[in-house]
């Protein structure tokens, strides 16, 4: 290519890069604005909440909105409950998922394909359908209003098992054979060969599971009876009630302290997590 040609490519490249950034800035703005709106509303006085066109930044920061929202329910306790149930749920579900994913990917069994369809079928059943029967089962186990009751019904794994199985299938046969020659059983192969290789996938899975457990709303609502067992979404949803409505500024403030810890964790961990996936994928 000549000098002129290279220059033309360069300027075209520049335009492309500009357009790319423009599109991404727009997307980020669309995603980010609701969060900003949440924040500024949470800092407003009632008078400034109800103004149109809206005030972008409140003239006087009403930090007491947070105090009011915090006092309206035992949010500290909700935090503890959410953290305990979400993390233990993730750990258990990953264990369950890894075991069955490995079995479906690597262990020969006559009814394996049929069982895999059964497994996939389970993914299709909406949890809401199981609400009443599950409650009855838990009652018999004596698990109502316990962490177990919140967690255990939702640690069976289909999505995770499916995802990990896909990954285990991509691990070269030679690695498994080598493990076998080294005299490793299935259990050791899973723990020392397959899982370490799948670390990025397990990371994504843990992240995903954590999100869904942290956010789950209907089941914890049903299965807990006392304030000291409730999780954050349940506590937050209970703040908004027609007859005794607290203002949007308080709802937004409460939403923020439900969100902030997870968002902080996310922004610290996201780089490792997301890039871990990429790195692992290239290696695999």
């Amino acid at each position: 290519m000549g000098v002129i040609g290279r220059k033309a490519v360069g300027s075209r490249d520049l335009i492309a890069r500009f357009l790319t950034h423009a599109a991404l800035v727009f997307a980020a703005a669309v995603i980010g604005l609701p969060f900003l709106w949440m924040l500024t509303t949470a800092l407003k006085s009632p008078a400034e909440v109800y103004i149109f066109p809206p005030v972008w930044w409140p003239s006087e920061l009403r930090l007491d909105n947070f105090a009011t929202a915090w006092r309206s329910a035992p949010f500290g306790r909700f935090y503890v409950n959410s953290i305990v149930t979400a993390t233990s749920g993730v750990a258990l579900e990953i264990a369950v998922a890894a075991l069955s994913a490995y079995a479906f990917a690597r262990i020969k069994f006559r009814y394996r394909d049929q069982l895999f369809i059964v497994l996939l079928a389970a993914m299709m059943i909406p949890g809401q359908v199981a609400l009443i029967p599950n409650y009855v089962v838990l009652k018999h186990l004596g698990w109502i209003n316990t962490y177990r009751g919140i967690v255990i019904p939702h640690v069976s794994s289909v999505f995770g098992a499916f995802l990990l199985r896909q990954y285990f299938l991509t691990i070269p046969e030679s690695l498994y054979d080598a493990a076998e020659i080294d005299g490793m059983g299935h259990f050791k192969t899973l723990f020392f060969i397959a899982l370490p290789l799948a670390r990025p996938v397990v990371g994504t899975l843990a992240l995903y599971l954590f999100i869904s457990k942290w956010n789950s709303y209907l089941w914890p609502l049903i299965v807990t009876n006392t304030q000291n067992m409730r999780t954050l979404p349940v506590g937050l949803a209970m703040l908004r009630q027609a007859e005794y409505a607290i203002g949007p500024e308080h709802l937004m403030a409460a939403s923020i302290f439900v969100l902030v810890p997870v968002l902080v964790v996310f922004f610290i961990a996201q780089k490792q997590l997301i890039e871990g996936i990429a790195a692992g994928a290239v290696k695999g």
Binding site: K139, T146, N225, T226, Q227, Q241, A242
Partner: protein, 427 residues
């Protein structure tokens, strides 16, 4: 065997959480005071007041200990009660939205209270309760609930807007006047309505309630005690037509899920609310608010709402403890604590005469409407006690105010649905 090792591992995995969370929330029932559980609803001042009363009850005696457990809004509490009943795990006392007494009593969920009333030696007088408020605690001539936080629908208006519009400082007396006031409060600028005269609620909890009030005012009924649905009769048609005309012909009102917020934002001049909303609306508004009767037309009559206390335990010992508790919660001293803080109506003659209640109403004469309206109440329509009753009436209101369905048709559909619902429930 290999398989054994795997099973061991699995047992370990399953045992982990059990060990981790062994400290469950189950409690041993020892001798000594009877521990009972009370499921309450409502947040804000109404919630705090219940907790305070429970605390006072526990301090007042040493035979019964009550644990109050907040269960969310009325609908959520009902939902949890159902799930609990299905699983055989119920509390001892529940706060129930009054129309649901019949629904739960019908299936034997609530303990009848008549025997306790008869054998009570503490000077408890059933006759002290306001008859209109006690009435819906009955189902088939048995008493199942005592009135606790009772309310009636009221009309709230923005006094500032009334003054600006040249309206008198009082609530409209008839629905026709309500329509006229609404027209005069409406402001249109640049082709856009910037202020409406009124907003009707379409929300699940109360939409049916205000519509019932309108039908009562026109001299009709939504349904009688025998579940005959009266929606296709003239009074219901008149009320429905007026509501719809205000929205679609006059364009001075609209249906909203959250009319109180619209009201507090000065977007509307008049809204309906419960006596129980008084504390909230008066304290949050940045303009002077007044409360008045619901508009009349032919009659001044409103359906009474709010919550009652019922006993759900099956064990005799716990039922007796529960009885002690609900007696305390509904007595005049407790009402004297509750009424001034929440705006709810006093439930008995002795609570109306209680010095603290008297003092409260003389300090806030504008809130006295809560007792003035007491004599103009009757229970809600029988169909409300059907599982889907409130929802079918809410759908009716939504069809009228959002869907613009012709009133005669919407009412006929609602009647048919309610009758079907009755047949499914009772036949």
């Amino acid at each position: 065997m290999k398989a054994m090792r795997y099973l061991l591992l699995i047992a370990l995995i399953l045992a982990l959480p059990v060990g981790l969370w062994a400290a469950g929330s189950r409690e041993a029932q020892a001798s000594g005071p009877v521990k009972i559980v009370y499921w309450r609803s409502l947040t804000g001042v109404a919630g705090e007041a219940q907790d305070e009363l429970v605390k006072r009850f526990n301090a007042s005696q040493d035979r019964v200990i009550v644990e109050a457990q907040f269960q969310g809004a009325y609908a959520e509490l009902n939902q949890k009660l159902l799930a609990g009943l299905a699983a055989g795990a119920v509390p001892d006392v529940v706060l129930l939205d009054s129309p649901f007494v019949a629904l739960f009593a019908k299936d034997g969920v609530l303990a009848p209270l008549d025997a306790f009333v008869r054998s009570d030696r503490s000077g408890f007088k059933l006759a002290d309760f306001i008859p209109g408020l006690l009435q819906d605690g009955y189902h088939e001539n048995k008493l199942y609930a005592l009135p606790f936080m009772r309310s009636t629908p009221l009309l709230y208006y923005n006094r500032e807007m009334f003054r600006e519009a040249g309206l008198p400082d009082r609530a409209p007396r008839t629905w026709d006047e309500f329509r006229d006031f609404s027209r005069r409060l409406t402001v249109v600028s640049g082709g856009e309505t910037t202020r409406f005269g009124a907003a009707f609620t379409t929300s699940t909890t109360t939409a049916h309630w205000y519509f019932q009030a309108a039908v009562y005012a026109y001299g009709g009924l939504v349904s009688d005690e025998k579940f005959n649905v009266k929606l296709t009769e003239a009074p219901a048609l008149a009320a429905a037509t007026l509501w719809q005309d205000m929205v679609f012909k006059d364009k001075t009102a609209f249906g909203s899920l959250d009319p109180h917020t619209e009201f507090l934002n000065r977007r509307v001049g008049m809204v309906f609310g419960s006596t129980g909303s008084m504390g909230n609306l008066f304290s949050r508004a940045t303009f002077p608010v007044a409360a008045g009767f619901m508009p009349g037309q032919v009659k001044n009559l409103v359906p009474v709402g709010g919550a009652v206390l019922a006993v759900t335990s099956t064990d005799k010992n716990r039922q007796a403890a529960a009885w002690e508790f609900i007696k305390y919660m509904t007595n005049a001293d407790s009402q004297a604590y509750l009424v001034p803080r929440t705006g709810y109506m006093p439930n008995s003659q002795s609570s109306i005469n209680h010095p603290e209640v008297v003092a409260y109403f003389s300090q806030y004469p504008e809130r006295k409407v809560a007792i003035d309206q007491l004599v103009h109440t009757r229970p809600q329509a029988s169909v409300i006690s059907l599982g889907k009753g409130t929802e079918l009436l809410r759908q009716l209101v939504e069809k009228l105010l959002v869907g613009n369905v012709a009133p005669a048709r919407a009412l006929a559909e609602a009647k048919a649905d309610l009758e079907k619902e009755y047949n499914e429930t009772y036949k």
